[in-house]
């Protein structure tokens, strides 16, 4: 069973390169449908991101793809393997870094990696060789005898990634790997993710941060258990905002009345506050120019490119 390969969007070469294929994936917990008919595929070497609010179904989807949860219905193929063996086949070829603690705070760096190696049944010599490789790649330079509780958050996450990749998995799942980590450490961690995919491994990552989502090859936007948009950051922006966008800065003057008028302007697609400023998207440039020229002279207007945050607000936030 489960030989239903998704008929091709894209050419044959791409089809063969799909390391993750998901078709109509659904999981229910009692009456609650946590993931509802989700379909997508991930190419080898891709950074694939899940973006969505808490409870949108990102973690549940990832846990099914890691072989931790049996789907209620639908097809999951990870590295060509399915869930028929209870998930152990999938577990052996993927690495998973959950959003909770994955390291033991009371153990040292070495003890944590030894335990991770033991879980994967790696012989001591192989584990040591692999550890050296991973330390080389991540630039991890703390002593093996350092206690994990003494490491800063960013270093801990790098170590957790190394532990999740000790068995050299082809596909790595990272569930909010950078939450609670300093911006500099986040940038470092994303450098690591790019290095992992550069050697042909596939990374599937969930995040709350828009700047991180921008760095993904493709993003699946999730809301209430469904994928509501899927594509590269640029594709998502283009489809959500086919026309131009402007940033409107009232510079301290009362925005209430002009905003009310702007809301009724013909051709307006979206209007949302961003801090002290507002973003207004229109279907056509001419309609935008007309609407903006009607604003008071004290208002400063600037044409901008939509960000993923705009996309997220338009697709996920608006209709809630």
């Amino acid at each position: 069973m489960n030989d239903t390969v998704v008929p091709g969007r894209g050419d044959k070469g791409l089809l063969r390169n799909r390391v993750v294929e998901v078709e109509n994936l659904t999981i229910r917990f009692g009456d609650f449908t946590a993931v509802d008919g989700v379909s997508f595929s991930v190419r080898k070497g891709e950074i694939f991101g899940f973006l969505g609010a808490n409870g949108a179904g990102k973690t549940t989807t990832i846990r099914m793809l890691c072989g931790l949860l049996a789907p209620t219905s639908g097809v999951v193929r990870v590295g060509g393997l399915d869930f028929d063996d209870g998930g152990n086949g999938i577990k052996s070829i993927v690495g998973y870094m959950s959003q909770k603690f994955t390291l033991y705070d009371d153990l040292t760096v070495g003890e944590n990696l030894d335990f991770a190696a033991g879980l994967r049944k790696l012989p001591a010599a192989a584990a040591e060789k692999r550890r050296a490789e991973l330390f080389g790649m991540t630039g991890f330079d703390r002593p093996l005898t350092a206690k994990v509780s003494d490491l800063p958050g960013g270093i801990k996450q790098e170590l957790a990634l190394a532990a999740a990749m000790l068995h050299d998995p082809e596909i790595v799942f990272l569930d909010e790997p950078t939450s609670g980590v300093s911006p500099a450490a986040r940038a470092r961690f994303w450098g690591l993710i790019r290095r992992i995919t550069a050697v042909g491994k596939t990374v599937i990552v969930t995040t709350h941060y828009m700047d991180e989502a921008e760095q993904c090859g493709r993003i699946a936007l999730m809301r209430a258990g469904r994928i509501i948009a899927l594509g590269s950051p640029d594709e998502l922006k283009d489809s959500a905002f086919p026309g131009p966008m402007a940033e409107v800065d009232f510079q301290g003057s009362d925005p209430a009345a002009p905003i009310e008028r702007l809301r009724k302007a013909p051709g307006l697609l979206a209007l949302s506050p961003h801090g002290m400023r507002w973003h207004a998207a229109f279907s056509e440039g001419a309609l935008m120019d007309a609407a903006l020229s009607a604003l008071p002279v004290s208002v400063r207007v600037r044409k901008i490119k939509p960000s993923l945050e705009d996309v997220f607000i338009r697709l996920a936030g608006g209709a809630q």
Partner: protein, 366 residues
């Protein structure tokens, strides 16, 4: 299997032994509790405060009173000159009062009756029974010494107390306390360790590895069987050094009985963890099992004294068998017949609880 199990054992032992609180729970608490329980849980009643009331010239009575105090069971109660015996007991100033006949003990005895009054505070019934028994023995001893005639009893016992000739209650209680401590520590440590991993989230990493359910279960329990056995050995050693409780039976019996018991308690701890959402619940769940198990184990109250339904429940209490086994092995030298039936019963229970724990555990994994 080998590599994974070894990794689990190393990890759990390092974690347990590195953490000060768990180290104290494992090694400090048993020794301290064994000492406290062994000393405090004495069924012998000593230092009974006895007040005597007589005419100052009643020489015979006063000699008898001296015998009471010399027995080691009684101490003189502190009292003022005008105290009334009843008041003294009511106020808690004395546990018992011995009152001479008004005419003097000698004259009363010569008339053939020799009646004295003994007032006993029976608000503590076991103490009261002890006072009665001790008083009788002091008086019959006195009768024998003073007149060469025992008190009139048609039958005399030639009592020989076996296994514990000095009737030291510590000898009887310490094995019970040992069983209780091993039970407590293995259940709590196992349940807490599993609950901690779930609570913190590290359990997710364990289950994301391609392991069978059995491998995960063994990995999380075998280390605690090892720690439980270490603890059993420690408690037996401490019992010997502090209270001189011997091990008269073969050591392999002790090891086998401990092994089977620890497997049962670790399985119970695992079961408790599967119905607990966090460490506090695991701790409470452990105690919900522990209290009845201790009360029905016969450590403090003989199982035979319980009502019928409770006796039936006691026979389902692994601690009851373990305590009986410990007393059998340590004091009686481990009579093989009783040993094998008790070990067998305990093994059945270990098997049943391990099976139940495995089923629950699998359910919580998936």
């Amino acid at each position: 299997m080998g590599i994974t199990l070894r990794a689990f054992i190393r990890k759990e032992l390092v974690q347990t032994l590195r953490d000060t609180r768990r180290r104290v729970l494992l090694f400090g608490a048993p020794v301290i509790q064994l000492t406290i329980f062994g000393l405090a849980l004495s069924t012998e009643i000593k230092n009974i405060r006895l007040a005597v009331f007589s005419r100052p010239d009643d020489a015979m009575f006063l000699r008898l009173a001296e015998r009471f105090y010399a027995s080691g069971w009684f101490v003189p109660a502190v009292r003022g000159p005008g105290d009334d015996p009843m008041e003294l007991i009511a106020s808690g100033g004395a546990d018992a009062a011995l009152i001479a006949p008004a005419e003097g003990l000698r004259r009363s005895a010569e008339r053939g009756s020799g009646k004295m009054q003994l007032l006993v505070d029976a608000s503590n019934a076991s103490k009261a029974r002890a006072v009665e028994a001790y008083s009788k023995s002091v008086i019959s001893e006195a009768a024998l010494r003073e007149y060469g005639t025992p008190l009139r009893t048609p039958v005399r016992f030639d009592v020989r107390v076996l296994y514990n000739p000095a009737m030291r209650s510590s000898l009887y209680l310490v094995p019970g306390v040992m069983g209780m401590l091993v039970c407590l520590i293995t259940i709590i440590l196992t349940a807490m360790s599993l609950a901690r991993e779930r609570e913190v989230g590290t359990f997710e990493t364990i289950v994301s590895a391609p392991l069978s359910d059995l491998e995960v279960l063994l990995g999380k329990t075998v280390p605690y069987v090892i720690l439980g056995l270490l603890d059993a050995a420690l408690v037996v050693g401490a019992g010997y050094m502090i209270f001189g409780v011997p091990v008269r039976g073969p050591l392999w019996q002790l090891a086998l009985a401990s092994m089977v018991f620890v497997v049962a308690t670790v399985a119970i701890g695992t079961f408790v963890s599967t119905v607990s959402r966090n460490q506090q619940q695991a701790m409470l769940g452990g105690f919900i099992f522990l209290f009845p198990a201790m009360l029905m184990s016969g450590i403090m109250y003989p199982v035979e004294n319980m009502p019928g339904a409770m006796i039936a429940a006691a026979y389902l209490d692994p601690l009851m068998y373990f305590v009986r086994l410990l007393r059998n092995i340590m004091l009686k030298g481990g009579a093989p017949g009783v040993f094998w039936t008790d070990v067998g019963a305990m093994a059945l229970m270990a098997l049943a609880s391990a099976g139940l724990a495995y089923r629950r555990f699998r359910r919580t994994l998936n």
